[in-house]
Symmetry: C2
Subunit: 471 residues, 2 copies
């Protein structure tokens, strides 16, 4: 089944299913000669950029300034003249045009769902998604979930938080479209993990979505509580995003051995949702780039020019069927290599054989959240009593990330604390609250005296990551 590429945006039939024995959701599209598929992709790309140019001042101004008009885009090479989009730009555009920025292409009252980033650099980003787009997200995810082996009748436990974070919601939208029995349990509250263990044993879901570190923590906690994940649980497929873990061979093996399951690595960026368009198939040979849903390039981190298969680069994403908040050439900042060597599944998409294994900037990931040192800094500087310098230390306690922030208090606090030592406890609490609110992740604050943290002339080495996350 191939949708009419002249009809844009595409309309999917929500009742469509392949035969349960088919390996593919849209066989022809997934297995065709890439050059033929490129023709279809290019038609969608043309329609998408013409739409964005017409509706979004953000893109119109940006492209006018760069001297490129959608009409001039006649080849993929032309397309690569369109300037990249950086997260910082869309944040700034939203600040100038609150709340959704000048790249929202539908009337505000047609926004169906709002989600967001937790705002690691001061101002969070809002994601506005239209009803038809939400429907297409469900269809895309169902198709990719089918590709890694889920079928109607499977039951899906979602063990990640339901709030701003789009990961959980995207898994749910796909699970609903795929007619799975969805169990959106969530995560993150004290005591909830213990509760999860009992429910998983009781219901015996066949699939799991969450972060790799939580899955490992869950297995460990299960054994402590007298459960045997291999017998008491029934997960056949566990799929992940939010962290690179599921693509790291040692971590993947540990998850597969802990649960006797297939561990599937997925994920692009929240801005791009459907985020599963980087996604492994059941053979787990690295993430396929599902190019006819989200067009993906790999560019050199410095020159920003495309790199050849076999080389390392940064994925750059372009929506092909988005009417609400389209992203055109969004620079991800992740590092990956790519290949077009065949996969046993028969799909002809390029792949990221080692997943995404690093960052081209100073962002780091803690429990699935993107955190920038500048976000930590911003939160601390909001607190009266903060000194001047800080340091971030990330460790993995058992299998969960722990974020320690060493922060100086100023001399005024030091003086007051002599008479009233409680003031330090209050300051620590306030810093922790501000950090949680700003960066979206719980941090443990350790107060240190003013001047105790080393100053440097140039760039402070403020982040110490002890996790070996990318190894």
């Amino acid at each position: 089944m191939i949708l009419n590429p002249n009809e844009w945006p595409p309309k999917y039939d929500n009742e469509y299913f392949p035969s349960p024995r088919d390996r593919y959701w849209f066989k022809e599209m997934e297995t065709m000669d890439p050059s033929r598929r490129d023709e279809i992709i290019f038609k969608k790309l043309k329609a998408q950029i013409a739409y964005a140019y017409e509706r979004a001042p953000f893109y119109r101004n940006k492209w006018d300034e760069a001297g490129i008009h959608p009409n001039q885009v006649k080849t993929f090479e032309d397309f690569r003249k369109i300037p990249l989009v950086y997260k910082q730009e869309i944040r700034e555009d939203q600040a100038k045009n609150p709340p959704f920025g000048s790249y929202l292409c539908i009337p505000r009252e047609q926004v169906f769902r709002i989600h967001g980033s937790s705002g690691t650099t001061g101002k969070p980003t809002a994601f506005a998604i239209g009803r038809d787009d939400w429907d297409r997200i469900g269809n895309a995810h169902a198709r990719i979930m089918w590709g890694f082996g889920l079928r109607p009748g499977d039951s899906l436990f979602i063990g990640s938080f339901f709030s701003l974070y789009l990961g959980s919601w995207g898994a749910l939208a796909g699970g609903e479209r795929l007619r799975l029995t969805c169990f959106p349990f969530g995560a993150g509250l004290p005591g909830q993990t213990l509760m999860a263990l009992r429910w998983i044993k009781e219901i015996r879901p066949t699939a799991f979505y969450g972060t790799p570190s939580f899955a490992l923590y869950l297995a460990e906690r299960a054994r402590e509580e007298g459960f045997d994940p291999l017998k008491d649980f029934n997960f056949k497929t566990m799929f992940f995003s939010g962290e690179p873990g599921a693509g790291i061979p040692a971590t993947k093996r540990k998850i597969e051995e802990s649960y006797n399951c297939k561990c599937i690595d997925l994920g692009t960026m929240a801005e791009m949702t459907p985020w599963m368009t980087n996604g492994e198939c059941e053979f787990r040979t690295g993430m396929h780039l599902w190019m006819d849903i989200v067009y993906t390039e790999l560019v050199d981190p410095e020159t920003k020019k495309g790199v050849a298969y076999g080389k390392e680069g940064v994925p750059v994403y372009t929506h092909l069927e988005r009417t609400s908040h389209p992203m055109i050439r969004l620079f991800s900042g992740d590092l990956a290599t790519w290949t077009n060597e065949p996969c046993p599944c028969g799909r002809t998409y390029p792949r990221l054989p080692k997943g995404m294994y690093g960052r081209a900037d100073d962002m780091f990931l803690v429990r699935g959240e993107n955190v920038y040192p500048s976000g930590v800094e911003g939160a601390l500087r909001e607190v009266a009593g903060f000194g001047e310098e800080f340091r971030i230390i990330i460790t993995r306690e058992k299998t969960m990330d722990e974020l320690l922030v060493q922060a100086e208090y100023n001399r005024e606090v030091a003086a007051k604390a002599q008479a009233n030592p409680q003031i330090l406890g209050q300051l620590k609490q306030e810093m922790e609250d501000r950090l949680k609110a700003r960066i979206g992740v719980r941090a443990n604050v350790e107060l240190v005296e003013f001047g105790k943290i080393e100053r440097t002339q140039f760039k402070a080495r403020r982040v110490i990551d002890k996790r070996d996350l990318y190894k």
Copy 2:
């Protein structure tokens, strides 16, 4: 518009909308003479009980034992011979027939969503909901949300936790069907309230769903943080379930004054979802009983016989369009009076003019969760080191419920603690974790020496509620 009452289960048109100026979603049904509506309700009731008898061993056995067959039900009076269902029974049935009990009327692979109670008396209850039922829930909620004034173009902030708890999910299902802009933010993590304040100011949603105590806490926290809920926020309608607060005049007034909004009281039970079928209209004269969706009786707590309008009783609920987990005559345990006096809105449903203002048993509500003393007891008795007696003290700190559990430790712990005082901290932590996992609510545990809590010969007065929740 009246659906064909001979077609059961009903199919709703998901594209249907009344004119935005209409007060009613289904005008004729909502305003007709009650005796005429009773004819329609009775047809649905007949179809529902015949369906349940045929598909559910739970009901078939129960009714056979009571000597009543659906064929014999020719009047509402006959219907009242069907035995009541108690929560304890459905828990026991699920324990015997895990995980969904013998009252699940669809094949397990057709279950679309799983939610649950947090299991306050040892074993949680699982709620299994089919896809068509989920669709009908959305339609019912949209209709009632329309009745209290929400319209497409409104934006809905959902400030309650997305997990087992059905309240948040039901509000979302209704909001989606009503084509609101839904912002499912959630609640409950440290730092999340501060984050909520910023997002609410930024997005300015026009509607809010959550618990009344959280809404009051949010207003207070907003003022502390330098926000003015009257100016910085834009809530016109705030609707609530999970606690009686929104029906208590003083609390309702406080919420309305804090936000300059209409405060709408709603809620039946999670088992009954669509839980909004007890629901106020924009005139806030007490909850209407939306009888053609869920048939509701009021019975005497002792005799279990129906009570007349004007009298106090316990609501008893019967689904009229449920194919997955139907509840037939579920005894709620809540206390209310009811009336058939007209409401200015013109709807001809009976009402609960004072909402639900008490309990007929020892259950209590903490932050929207049902908690039984027996659940607390069960959790403590799982902990090696627990002594013998305990006491539950509930307070409201500012506007949030606080649950304090005083628990004895045994003599063995007392002996060990002399050498190693840290053992008490560990015991407290373990008790708190078990309580959270079992009763779904965070409790603060205060350890006391063995024998210090008063023993009684008969029923221990184990719950001290300092909140005046029902005043």
